[in-house]
């Protein structure tokens, strides 16, 4: 079926491309973000309808069935996933996109004419496979199917170098021969390279890796557009690649790290390799009642929420506690580190879900000077983002990361599950300071107990 002539097809693809640009622009501002996303979805619908109406397609019932399967699997998962698990879902969706691009390139190989098309094919194969396997490992790390610590083994740099050399050789061979068997080999090498690239990355850096793999998939899609001679794929893939590059750098800057340092740090032996060791140093532990008294007689309280709050689903209780304190005339703010949670902006999403008013959410640069006027800093399930080692210990894996300066507050209260170090696996000296007290337990339970005690005072 070919209802549309090439001019109309090109025009509709252009419309879809413009929709994608408007979508990215809309997503850059809080007021227009949701509309931006819908504009992007509309662009995608236009593009998919266009391809059905313009290209001469066989197997349409099969294709429609495959689309139905993909949508039927993905939409319910996307709708039901807990907001705390959303980063790994994004990683997963990114990976399957990369995998799809690699498969498209593989199937186009027999039809490829000319060295440039073959070059685009080997690029798509390799980068798509890296993205697929890398995202899979990222998913496993975030879902805690495997350790969140860097996975290192002796000879890793050698294995990595061997895989990369073999990939280049296989790519060259595919360029020359156009052999599908060699292309499959290249695909497998790409998968190995993707896994090896992400395995040594420490848990705290995983968000940046997701963003980087997003760039990879974008580039793979753009290259597959060159293979198919499809302008829309070229434009959409390039847009994602370019905007993702900016985003990746912005995220890395927010954590005070360089992208190259994250990806290759482990190979130089300076990654976020932490320990799981539990320290024996003495700490001052506290009771919910003590914490309630501290909070009740404070004038200014700053709550620092972290991932521990999110996994315990304690954001609603935290919001209630803030309300209870404010009702008693205490000024309460939430200090949001740019990478609180497991992705930049993740904590804003979670607290917004709990109806914490936007004005109470203070970004790091805004709140840091205010800690010295705070009577209590209540750190709920956060660790690395308040660790002074980032400022003081030059050898520390998180050295240079901007932190929330809770140490300046008159009292610091940590709500923690245990003395286990945070996601990055680094001990926090702040826990042993004299102004610090700790309340052990699940973040939500602890908050609920503190809330109850505050109300009964």
């Amino acid at each position: 079926m070919s209802v549309l002539d090439p001019a109309w097809t090109a025009l509709l693809y252009l419309v879809a491309a413009v929709f994608f640009i408007l979508a990215l622009r809309g997503l850059s501002s809080p007021r227009t973000a949701r509309r931006g996303n819908l504009v992007g979805a509309a662009g995608a619908v236009i593009a998919v309808v266009t391809v059905f109406l313009s290209a001469r397609l066989e197997n349409i019932p099969w294709i429609l069935a495959a689309i139905a399967v993909g949508a039927a699997v993905a939409a319910p998962v996307a709708r039901r996933v807990k907001m705390t698990q959303m980063p790994q879902l994004v990683a997963l969706f990114n990976g399957v996109g990369g995998g799809a691009a690699a498969l498209v390139a593989l199937l186009e190989l027999p039809h490829a004419d000319g060295p440039w098309v073959r070059l685009a094919i080997v690029f798509t194969l390799l980068v798509g496979a890296v993205s697929f396997a890398g995202s899979g490992v990222t998913f496993a790390k975030l879902q805690e199917l495997m350790t969140t610590r860097p996975v290192l083994f002796p000879g890793l740099p050698v294995v990595m170098a061997a895989v990369l050399l073999a990939s280049v050789a296989a790519a060259a061979a595919v360029m020359v021969t156009g052999s599908t068997a060699l292309a499959v080999l290249l695909l497998v090498l790409g998968l190995a390279a993707g896994a090896l690239l992400v395995l040594p990355v420490g848990g705290a850096d995983v968000p940046i890796v997701i963003s980087l793999l997003n760039v990879f998939t974008g580039l793979a899609v753009a290259a597959s557009g060159l293979v198919l001679g499809n302008v829309l794929l070229v434009v959409a893939g390039t847009l994602v690649g370019a905007s993702g590059t900016i985003l990746t750098r912005a995220m890395a800057a927010a954590m005070g790290r360089s992208v190259a340092g994250i990806m290759f740090g482990a190979f130089r032996g300076s990654s976020t390799a932490g320990s799981t060791a539990v320290s024996e140093r003495p700490v001052r532990s506290s009771t919910p009642e003590d914490v309630a008294v501290l909070l009740r007689y404070a004038q200014r309280v700053i709550i620092v929420p972290g991932y521990g709050l999110a996994v315990a689903q304690g954001q609603h209780t935290a919001a209630e506690l803030a309300q209870a304190l404010e009702a008693r005339g205490i000024e309460v703010d939430f200090a949001i580190h740019p990478v609180a949670g497991r992705m930049p902006g993740h904590m804003n999403v979670l607290l917004a879900e709990a109806n914490v008013p936007y004005e109470s959410l203070k970004e790091m640069v805004e709140i840091n000077p205010e800690f010295k006027t705070a009577d209590v800093a209540l750190v709920v399930g956060a660790n690395d983002v308040v660790n002074p080692a980032a400022k003081t210990t030059a050898g520390s894996p998180i050295y240079g990361m901007p932190i929330l300066e809770v140490a300046a507050a008159r009292q610091v209260v940590f709500l923690k599950r245990s003395m286990r170090p945070g996601f990055a696996g680094i001990e926090n000296d702040l826990l042993y300071e004299p102004q610090t007290s700790l309340l052990f337990g699940d973040a939500k339970d602890s908050l609920a107990q503190v809330l109850g005690a505050v109300k009964s005072l």
Partner: protein, 106 residues
């Protein structure tokens, strides 16, 4: 389309991509990444074209797998982004203009 035109379009798209997200606040990093993630699900178009031209059953099988994966990326990506943004939407009235607005509003 000839190679030079495609190259021109690619280079221009790089600059548009840089420009369009240059001033986003860290609050929106996650939804923006997720939205961009959904957009590259448009590889579905490529997968449909390849599946539509397949004659060999093996080729068709692999192409249909690509269609399933691409659809998951596209549909799942937009749905999960919408869910994230729904939470920002709830307090839309209270939202103050962020740094990104100046860049976005012309």
């Amino acid at each position: 389309m000839d190679g030079m035109s495609l190259l021109t379009i690619t280079v221009l798209a790089v600059f548009v991509g840089f420009e369009v997200v240059s001033k986003v606040s860290s609050t929106l990093h996650t939804p923006l990444m997720s939205g961009a993630n959904a957009i590259h699900g448009i590889i579905l178009v490529g997968a449909i074209i390849v599946a539509g031209q397949a004659t060999d059953p093996w080729v068709l099988t692999v192409a249909l797998l690509a269609v399933v994966l691409a659809t998951a990326n596209l549909v799942g990506g937009f749905v999960v982004t919408d869910r994230m943004l729904h939470m920002f939407h709830a307090r839309k009235d209270a939202a103050r203009p962020a740094a990104g607005d100046k860049a976005a509003g012309k």
